[in-house]
Amino acid sequence: MLSVKDIVKQYATHRALDQVSLEVESGKIFGLLGPNGAGKTSLIRIITQITAPDSGEVLFNGQRLNADHISQIGYLPEERGLYKKMEIGEQVLYLSKLKGLSTAEATKRIKFWFEKLEMKDWWNKKVEDLSKGMQQKVQFVATVLHQPELIILDEPFSGFDPVNADIIKNEILELNKQGATFIFSTHRMESVEELCDHIALIHRSKKILDGSVDEIKATYRNNTYWIEYEGDFAAKSVAGIFDVLQTENVKGKTLIKIQLQPDRTANEVLALLLPHVTIHRLDEVIPTMNDIFIDKVKGQNHE
């Protein structure tokens, strides 16, 4: 539903985005990753039409991005806030009217959401009387109230306690089920693995990785396994089949880390071990998104 094509954004002294292209599919949760200062916010600001790119274009449902799309996008910036002296209800009402909702419709929906997220008594409260977590909830409601097709969340969980973070996560999943597309900008990888279908990694103004979470993880598998067994046997590397990278003895059990040669399977290793030992466990070592992220970013830095 959203195509970003060859976006370039140049600021006076540095290039924030260099030929960045992305494809966000409808109904998916898309993770936009990258270290601080990589260009994520610049890209989001272009998608939300806060700034314009120097070259390249953004297509929203096939149409070139224009002012009509503002009401179809909900944006929760990382640097977010509310008017301190304004009452909560009035404030959310104001923000949603700016997105084009009528007073009546907005009021109805605010009541619905306030009820759902247990914020009913907050209508007449002022922002300065709310805790940071409570403010985050209000902001989340303000972001999704106009039922946008595309919801962009920049570090949505920062500032939430685990309970509220969980509530918000469930709301995100529910909205996603109802058809909303999400773009997540974050550098917290746990949430990416839990929620995202697809990710793109931006580093130093360039996109350096793009793909579905499963695919990316698959390409980062390197045929490494943990095997735990019991028995008086020291496993050794077998040329052409596997290498033992690491051996540990824990409470009478042995734990080895092995790497298979290409085209070999774990079955072959087990076949070699089975006559000598009792196998307790076999795990494939799958890199976490965190590992991939660090690996990719560090790899780039060394270039």
Binding site: I73, Y75, P77, G81, L82
Partner: protein
């Protein structure tokens, strides 16, 4: 457009509903009226109550007349020596001791005033005036003018200044005094309004920036819409306050006048305004009793209040838009109010300069070159023009100044909006003028 209206509405309501606004609006006219009342009361009381007893030791034989006593000052001629009096002055009933030595009428020298307290300026002026009159009368008598003739010479003259309107050729009753008062009030009000509300715009922008709501806002509206909505919303707050002040002040002063001024004075004002209408017909000497109130009353009638207020409101809106756009740009460039100092200076300077020059140069010479240019340059014209207005300004100058101001504020709004749209997204950076200039040239 709808969004701008929403923003205007919020900016307006959130300010008008504030307690401080309501208190300010209703208290200020009362305060102003109260302060002027107090000043008036004490001045009046002060004049009424001064009563100085002055002992006069005179060794002067030239002056044949004595200094005349009246209700504010009493002269007692004593037959003692100066030294004796100096010693006893502290314990006597006299407040001051005046020593008149022998002097020639052409060069009176050696007059001295002693007192337990330092004599005020008004007292020493008063005494020297009395002495001057005494000496003048003495001289006149010596040149052979009789006492009778002298008494007849005394007449009090009241000048009525009239302005001949260039367009209509009609004579308008006016008084330099009343014009100056109106000019002062208008100038001070204009300065206050532009400053107060310009700074409110700046605060509003900083508030949005520091509370970080700005990002949420500009994902819904264009920075320009947000800036204009804020500026217009606050302008309406200013106008509301201005109108309320005028209404309240008029109400309060009407009530106060009908309460304090006795019927006699009202009668006088009434008769004089009747005679005022006859004035334009001829050159007859006006016999009606002339007090300062009557004077001002009459010339106030000569001023076109409707025009003054309309022009004031126009220049308030224009000047406010001109400056508040600059204030918005400043607000967008900083993270907190404490950082605004370096940018405030260049914006404040022309306004302050215009204010100072308007109230000094223009009130002295409302038609001069400086007055003309000050009332044309949009940085100073809002103040300068309203100050000039009570003295009369040719319509073409007024029109030209208005056009320049409109062009001026379109200019500042344009420049400010280009700085604003970049500035509001910059956090935690110390901004310099150089940087602001760079922002101005950013593409989008």
């Amino acid at each position: 457009m709808n969004k701008v209206l929403l923003i205007i509405r919020r900016e307006y309501l959130s300010r008008v509903k504030k307690k401080s606004f309501i208190i300010m609006t209703f208290l200020t006219p009362l305060l102003i009226a109260g302060i002027y009342g107090l000043i008036g009361y004490f001045t009046y009381k002060g004049i009424k109550d001064t009563h100085d007893k002055v002992a006069v030791v005179s060794t002067n034989k030239t002056l044949t007349e004595k200094l005349a006593t009246d209700k504010n000052i009493e002269y007692f001629y004593v037959d003692k020596s100066l030294d004796e009096m100096k010693k006893s002055i502290k314990n006597s009933d006299y407040d001051y001791l005046l020593y008149l030595p022998e002097f020639s009428l052409t060069q009176p020298k050696g007059v001295e005033l002693f007192g337990a307290k330092q004599a005020g300026l008004s007292l020493s002026n008063r005494i020297s005036r009395d002495l001057e009159e005494l000496i003048r009368n003495q001289k006149l008598k010596e040149s052979g003018i009789s006492q009778q003739d002298l008494d007849q010479l005394k007449t009090s003259v009241n000048i009525e200044t009239k302005k001949i309107a260039t367009e209509t050729g009609k004579e308008e009753s006016s008084s330099a005094g009343a014009s100056t008062i109106i000019a002062f009030i208008a100038g001070v009000l204009m300065f206050m309004f532009i400053m107060l509300y310009g700074i409110q715009v700046m605060r509003g922008v900083i508030e949005e920036k520091t509370s970080r709501i700005i990002e949420v806002m500009i994902s819904s509206v264009k920075p320009f819409q947000l800036m204009m909505g804020k500026i217009i919303g606050i302008a309406l707050v200013g106008l509301t306050q201005f109108v309320l002040w005028i209404v309240l002040t008029l109400t309060i002063s009407t009530v106060a006048v009908s309460f304090f001024v006795n019927k006699d004075d009202v009668q006088k004002i009434a008769t004089s305004s009747q005679s005022g209408s006859q004035i334009s017909t001829g050159t007859q000497v006006v016999q009606a009793p002339q007090g300062p109130i009557v004077d001002i009353q009459k010339s106030l009638a000569g001023l076109e209040f409707g025009k003054i207020i309309t022009v004031f409101i126009f220049f308030f809106i224009g000047g406010y838009l001109f400056y508040s756009a600059l204030y918005a740009a400043i607000g967008s460039a900083v993270d907190s109010e404490t950082e605004t100092q370096q940018f405030m200076m260049p914006v404040m300077m022309p306004l302050l300069l215009g204010y100072a020059l308007s109230l000094s140069v223009i009130t002295n010479d409302p038609y001069g070159n400086i007055a003309f240019w000050l009332s044309m340059i949009p940085f100073t014209s809002p103040i300068a023009m309203v100050v000039r207005l009570p003295y009369g300004v040719p319509n073409w100058e007024l029109a030209l100044s208005m056009v320049i101001l409109v062009v001026g504020f379109i200019g500042t709004v344009w420049v400010a909006s280009r700085i604003y749209r970049v500035g509001i997204l910059m956090y935690g950076k110390k901004t310099t003028f150089k940087e602001m200039f760079k922002w101005f040239s950013y593409k989008n």
